[in-house]
């Protein structure tokens, strides 16, 4: 009688090595930004709606304000906010308050206005570092929005020129940067898609750690590292591996940001309970790599359109886009359940959980909604909830075996 235990793959030696060297790159890139004395300007930015191709092309060193998961850092930020700010925005502020070397190194911070809380956070950050607010239209489909956002993109370009003292980024330089970022997005998407296999060669946590590199490591260094990971992960497992043992429960993690360092839920789901997050619909996972920026025509218009049309944050309208995108990912990655994870007090994802849950339920997918923060005190409760949810999904699998796994399902069914 086969046990229900998840058989882990014999790790291909190339993959751990490739992941370790990417991790080293992430650290050295941050270190290089902190230590750089070349005179290059250093820029931090807040959201995924920041068209970083312009940062690449302007020759600035840059990184996303992306760190989270630390209780003390969030608490340091709360000194400036009310308690009803999410722990991520508190952490962005807290890192400045605590004098994090990376954050302290920035000459300027750019905040493309996404949610109200982030905008407020940027206004507090201004106490520490010069900050520029730019607008992102919510109404994607309006022509006015596109024209306006192109203007914002140009304004961003000019602000960078003033910051660096160089001529504004040219159309050619921007086009080159767009192609470079698109290449990275393609690679990241290909890496993510390896997780569509019945036995995913990468865990959700590993993918999250790969994705974060996009926000720290310069494209020229990142590309070969991603190619190496793609090759190594692609060679792991294979068709025979799925038949070797029971496959893990497959989950979509949808919702708000799971920041760099916020690994608590991923750890509980994957390391403690043996399930797998095979795809994310959040701005720290695979979502931002799903769409590309047009490579022809006016690159400034292409950049504006590309960012407005990217797989949407719940703050964008029409909101239906976000629901549809999430449901499509769930289907493509053949997930069995959804973890709807949102930071407590999240102004975007906290208030649309009902719509998301209904949309997933309509697709036959059970959803566990988890409101989370960076404290440790509720770890036991989170474990209980997630564990019970996975028990429900295992139970469900016994009665409705996924078509991809006839052999495993057969064994399971015989067992009852």
């Amino acid at each position: 009688m086969s046990s229900t235990k998840i058989h882990s793959l014999p790790a291909a030696p190339a993959l751990p090595a490739a992941l370790a060297s990417l991790d080293a790159l992430v650290h050295s890139a941050q270190d290089a930004l902190v230590r750089d004395r070349s005179g290059a300007r250093k820029v931090g930015y807040l959201c995924n709606y920041t068209p970083i191709e312009l940062l690449d092309a302007a020759g600035v060193l840059h990184a996303r304000l992306f760190k989270g998961g630390d209780t003390a850092r969030a608490a340091a930020g709360e000194f400036y906010t009310q308690s009803v700010f999410c722990d991520f925005t508190k952490s962005c502020i807290g890192a400045f308050e605590q004098g994090d070397p990376l954050y302290k190194a920035f000459d300027k911070v750019y905040s493309f206005h996404t949610c109200a809380t982030m905008k407020r956070a940027a206004e507090v950050i201004e106490l520490f570092t010069p900050t520029r607010l730019l607008n992102v239209p919510k109404l994607r489909k309006h022509d006015d929005s596109r024209r306006f956002f192109r203007e914002e993109v140009l304004s961003f370009r000019d602000d960078l020129a003033a910051l660096t003292g160089n001529a504004p980024v040219s159309a050619d330089a921007l086009s080159a940067a767009i192609r470079e970022r698109n290449a990275l997005r393609r690679l990241l998407r290909q890496i993510s898609e390896l997780r569509r296999r019945a036995l995913p060669p990468l865990s959700g946590r590993q993918f999250a750690d790969i994705a974060r590199a996009y926000y720290y490591v310069p494209p020229a260094l990142l590309r070969p590292a991603l190619e190496e990971i793609l090759a190594a992960a692609g060679a792991t497992g294979g068709a025979g591996a799925a038949a070797a043992g029971a496959t893990p429960i497959r989950l979509l993690a949808a919702g708000s940001i799971i920041a760099d360092g916020d690994r608590r839920i991923l750890e509980i789901v994957e390391e403690e309970l043996g399930a797998r997050i095979v795809i994310e619909d959040n701005c720290a996972g695979a979502r931002p790599f799903h769409s590309l920026v047009r490579e022809d025509g006016d690159p400034f218009a292409a950049l504006a359109d590309g960012y407005l049309d990217q797989s949407p944050c719940a703050r964008q309208r029409p909101f239906e886009d976000a629901l549809e995108f999430s449901a499509r990912l769930a289907e493509q990655y053949a997930v069995e359940g959804v973890l709807y994870v949102f930071l407590k007090f999240c102004a975007c994802y906290g208030v649309v959980q009902k719509q998301f849950i209904e949309r997933f339920n309509a697709a036959g997918l059970p959803v566990l909604a988890l409101s989370s923060d960076y404290s440790e005190s509720d770890r036991g409760q989170l474990l209980t909830r997630i564990e019970a949810f996975i028990e429900v999904l295992r139970e469900k699998r016994l009665f409705a075996p996924p078509p991809a796994e006839p052999e495993t399902a057969g064994t399971a069914a015989n067992r009852i």
Binding site: M1, S371, S377, D378, Q381, T384, A388, V392, R415
Partner: protein
């Protein structure tokens, strides 16, 4: 305590007799419960949870073994659940962990087979669980956030403030003529609200004021639980489980607010989690430990 299985269920038959004695341990944040199943016999034990979960579990185990005259070697499987489930370790007896959500579902199903909706209020959290009445399996559940509003801890705190024992709180609340408005859902704020309510109470009406405050506290906790239930809906076949389920005040206030009656169980449903755990242990013995069966 020893029961015959048919004395703890409203069903007319008992389908859970294990191949060998099995044990379910529910290590809660405040109280720990244990059940030993042997044939059609059901043994129950309760101890307050200590600082060390393993010691608490061992106490339960010792009580169950003493009551049944069994030895640990004779026990075929142990299932742990509850807050302390992770901390337990048994060298020689097969052991597994099942969450209290699944265990409460199974326990309520075994004791009250018509159950479709469960309210479980424990020491530090409350849950609403929707179950499949055919199998006792969980369909959907919601759990309160990490604060203690609407949990046993909230009531415990209230009892201390009123200067009475926790098990008196419910009966005292039932005497209330005019429940006090306790609007705060937060234990800390409710505490200051209660202090000012007490301060306002006239001296010679102290007992009356106490009853009114106790009732107000129950309503405050119950409203919280009602909201939770609103998220999964109420289907008839309502069961109330967990440590707070033997509080008659909460029982009545919840029935009033929900406009629905709980089914009357024959077993004190603070044991629902332990019973469910024992049933999962019996199943695990039958399916996951074939080698042990072969050794019989």
């Amino acid at each position: 305590m020893q029961h015959h299985a048919l004395d703890i269920t409203t069903a007319t038959r008992w389908d859970y007799a294990p191949l060998r004695p099995v044990i379910g341990l529910d290590i809660g944040s405040r109280g720990s419960k244990g059940i030993l199943l042997r044939g059609d016999d059901v043994f129950t034990a309760f101890v307050a949870t200590g600082l060390y979960m393993q010691e608490t579990a061992d106490e339960l185990l010792a009580s169950l073994l003493a009551q049944s005259g069994e030895t640990l070697d004779a026990v075929g499987f142990i299932t742990g659940t509850g807050y302390g489930r992770i901390s337990l370790k048994y060298e020689t007896t097969p052991y597994k962990v099942v969450t209290e959500i699944s265990c409460h579902a199974m326990g309520a199903h075994a004791a009250l087979p018509e159950t479709r909706t469960i309210i479980d209020i424990g020491g530090q959290d409350s849950k609403a669980i929707k179950i499949d009445p055919a199998t006792g399996k969980v369909i959907e559940f919601v759990m309160n956030d990490k604060c203690a509003a609407g949990t046993g801890r909230f009531l415990e705190k209230a009892a201390v403030l009123l200067g009475i024992e926790l098990d008196e709180l419910g009966p005292v609340a039932l005497e209330a003529k005019n429940p006090a408005p306790v609007s705060s859902q937060c234990v800390v704020f409710a505490e200051s609200e209660m202090i000012s309510l007490r301060a306002r109470g006239e001296r010679n009406h102290d007992l009356e004021a106490r009853a009114n405050i106790a009732a107000g506290v129950h309503y405050s906790a119950a409203r919280r639980v009602k909201n939770l239930l609103g998220r999964i809906g109420i289907q008839p076949g309502l069961a109330f489980t967990g440590g707070v389920s033997n509080n008659p005040g909460m029982w009545r206030v919840l029935e009033e607010l929900l406009g629905a009656q709980f089914q009357r169980p024959k077993l004190d449903l603070i044991y629902a989690g332990a019973l469910g755990a024992a049933i999962y242990a019996a199943r695990a013995l039958a399916t996951e430990a074939p080698a042990l069966r072969a050794g019989l």
